[in-house]
Symmetry: C2
Subunit: 503 residues, 2 copies
């Protein structure tokens, strides 16, 4: 059917077309099914000749002969308003059959999984279709071979960072506020001569991601070519991985999983390993925080560690998983600026530096040094401590920040805290028994994290500390009074701290 | 956050809001999550004070302070372009927890199922969320009590047709082209004095629904009040159920099921019974066509019949399920006009009337007459045949059509066939062994059904008939040459007829 294009003047993040309901009847298309839109006027050069779009049906206000398209279609086909295009129902993607097979409890082979993953990357599957796939993975699980296929398919459908020689990477499965070991570990390892091109995420549901924290001092959004240059210069980088197209299927699957908060194990493992393989890692250190308020229990963490290790081996990666205590936040600051202050305090050997963050960073860096053979077994942590104490780690960190267009100058200004603050005091004397990760996270977000980089929480006390009545527990920082009040109310309501009275 | 409204001038079938990605970051909203939009200017009266909308994120082209909304939001809140509204993240619907519970294999109680169904009806759940619910029902099944809760919730969230006294209904689980028994059965039963307010669907994936067929002679789209008037006058109606709001959750669930072609049994049963209860049926006759090319096998059909019977009883409905032969199409015509011709041929006792359609209609009408006690056991079909033969059924049919604003005049014009036609002939002599329902359906749709009411297929031969080479098998009717050729090619490619040679 020939229809006249009207631009929606809207970038919806995916190709969308809106047609009149009468036109939909003629095409035999229902809402959220796909149409194939073909360019007829070939004079103007375009990126694509045809694009598959998801259909919205308009009951009124759109003429029968018109089709309204999002800018992904408009620009992709190089269209002009009023241009005539050919529109027809798009065939149902082949991957639908394989999704149904998985939902029915079947086992998928590589080709089938590749077809699904590649349709996800190409926007050919809707969220409803992806959620059927996730349901199948979640309920029936994935075999060992299916997980391998999933990793292969995720890598194959993405870009890769190719760096010669042995490449080191680290990753945390997450969930612990303030767990900002990455900048310290990367600086120590790079100072020891290892190549460690670290890509990180921004916060999705947490108060800060490593990318948000680094951004307080330097740029983090680079092209693959620019990253190669930074790594050549410094042995390392501390950049945002989001726009690099490394295993991009992962990001879309996670978006649909978040609806129900699902995290099928196969997908968790595939997601992490695919990203590590895409950056060319030969050695990977995995931080698995466990505990009541962490993502996994100790038993589940140990099981996960084994699966990661075995699967990484298939792809020629030496992976070491370390189970760490995830019972409470790490460090004193929660929020981009507050966490960078903690990181710098450790690197410059400040007297008030958070020792839990320092020790955890040294443990992780030590494991990496041993994994690659830079230190003998049992000697890694000592070497890491030497590099940190001697100032080599700070020097390396400065070098990376400068290579990323930043500096360690004007820190007072760059790391200034938000102007509204409120101190929360202990209501009774006792010992801090629990600091709830999830609640701390919500309160920091209520205060404005991660958008307001100078907002967040400063923890005066940690689990095991003794407090007197009216001792400061937490200071909340926010950029507006409203956010400060909101975070304060949330703290009062949820009670993120538990204090046990002394008998 | 306060944002300025820009109308999208688009009715998307659901409330949609588009915001700039920077605004989305500030609100901490991701694409396809929900925002609550509140009206601030209360001067103008509006249907709602606040509406929950699904969010699209625009990367460009939309100003940070603007929000672009679909007409469901614009009109629902009575907005003007440029008006300021309050926008905030909407809470995650409570039903998400129950969907997760079902996906984890749990059993839901009535309140939990009601919450899900009512969120579906209120547009509070996205298709991805509904598909997680369907996955749970599909993989884990539903208990007897869950199915009852599902039926109750579907009725409770919809409107009801309240008619005094005992009310009869019939239903077919579908899948057989030309199976147009409804107008004949309804006319016979209403002529016998029964109250039978029949609501039917339009074709979704078939060549014609009963509503499409009746529409060749009368209107089918009425309000509940109008339907009551028609039923008072004639004991019956033959209307479209789609816009009445009877068990509306059903329509949305079916839309998401269609993506993978799923049809969880509990949902199939609940869907049918909820509609029947909503029209106030006390007696229901259910047609379950079985066979290789039907929806169910004989065994599955018998099992389904028992489940329907038992569940209907819970709701005080006397239900009889009849297993019928679904191996081939019923009657000679496929398509709205062609099927109405078959119906009229039976009603006016035309010599060339399709006897399979007549016999099946008499069997079903006879079962209903026995079910309500109008005929003794074993005598229903005879009474039905008497009503049909005596012309009382035709008289009743005319009365219903007239009450629905139509007439049986000018039939030559109203039931004229499409002007392009092509006869397909037998390529060899033999016995017709198979006529494939699914293929016949696709070919009729290719010819233009159900939109082009005068298009479709006329079957000259049925299974068991003897044919000589070059005997006419099928005539295809279409309104354009293109559609005729398309349907013809499909017939040639798919071979909907199988002829076995005579030894």
């Amino acid at each position: 059917m020939l229809l006249k294009v009207k631009s929606l003047n809207l970038s919806a993040g995916k190709p969308i077309a809106i047609i009149n309901y009468k036109t939909a009847l003629k095409l035999n298309i229902h809402a959220s099914e796909r149409v194939r839109i073909k360019k007829i006027n070939k004079k103007k050069r375009a990126e694509f000749h045809e694009i598959i779009a998801i259909t919205d049906i308009a009951k009124r206000l759109l003429h029968e002969n018109d089709i309204s398209v999002s800018s992904e279609v408009f620009e992709g086909l190089g269209l002009k308003d009023g241009e005539i295009v050919q529109v027809e129902p798009a065939l149902r993607p082949l991957s639908i059959n394989f999704i149904l097979k998985k939902l029915n409890g079947g086992t998928l082979n590589y080709t089938e999984i590749f077809t699904i993953i590649s349709d996800i990357v190409n926007n050919a599957l809707t969220e409803a279709e992806i959620s059927y796939f996730i349901s199948g993975m979640y309920i029936h699980g994935m075999t060992y071979n299916e997980t391998i296929s999933l990793i292969r398919a995720m890598i194959k459908t993405g870009r890769r960072l190719k760096i010669n020689g042995s490449v080191v990477d680290k990753h945390s499965i997450g969930g612990i506020p303030g767990n900002r070991t990455t900048p310290i570990v990367v600086s120590i390892c790079a100072a020891a001569g290892l190549t460690i091109p670290k890509t990180s995420s921004r916060a999705i549901t947490s108060a800060a991601g490593t990318a948000d924290v680094i951004e307080t001092l330097a740029k983090v959004d680079f092209s693959i070519e620019e990253i190669k240059k930074i790594v050549k210069e410094t042995n390392a980088c501390l950049v945002w991985g989001g726009s690099l197209g490394l295993a991009p299927a992962d990001d879309k699957i996670i978006q649909v999983e978040r609806i129900l908060g699902l995290d099928p194990e196969a997908q968790l493992i595939a997601s992490i390993l695919a990203k590590k393989i895409s950056v060319g890692a030969s050695h990977v250190l995995l931080d698995i925080p466990f505990g009541k308020e962490a993502k996994v229990s100790r038993e589940k963490g140990a099981d996960l560690a084994k699966k990661f290790h075995d699967l990484a081996k298939i792809f020629g990666i030496r992976l070491k998983a370390v189970l760490t205590n995830g019972e409470q936040p790490i460090g004193k600051g929660i929020g981009p600026v507050l966490e960078m202050r903690d990181v710098l305090a450790v690197l410059i050997r400040d007297k008030k530096r958070p020792l839990d963050l320092e020790i955890k960073s040294l443990v992780l860096a030590g494991e990496i040094l041993e994994l690659v053979g830079k230190a003998k077994k049992g000697q890694g942590k000592r070497l890491a401590a030497y590099i940190l104490n001697s100032g080599q780690a700070l020097k390396k960190f400065r070098q990376i920040i400068e290579a990323q267009g930043g500096s360690l100058k004007d820190l007072d200004k760059k790391l200034a805290l938000a102007k509204y603050k409120r101190v929360i005091k202990a209501e009774k004397r006792g010992i801090i028994k629990e600091i709830n990760n999830r609640k701390i996270n919500s309160i920091a977000r209520a205060a404005g994290c991660p958008i307001n980089k100078s907002a967040g929480l400063f923890l005066h006390k940690k689990v095991g500390d003794f407090v007197k009545k009216n001792d400061s527990l937490v200071t909340i920082f926010a950029e507006t009074k409203e956010k400060l009040n909101y975070a304060y109310k949330l703290f009062k309501r949820d009670g993120a701290f538990k204090i046990s009275e002394i008998e």
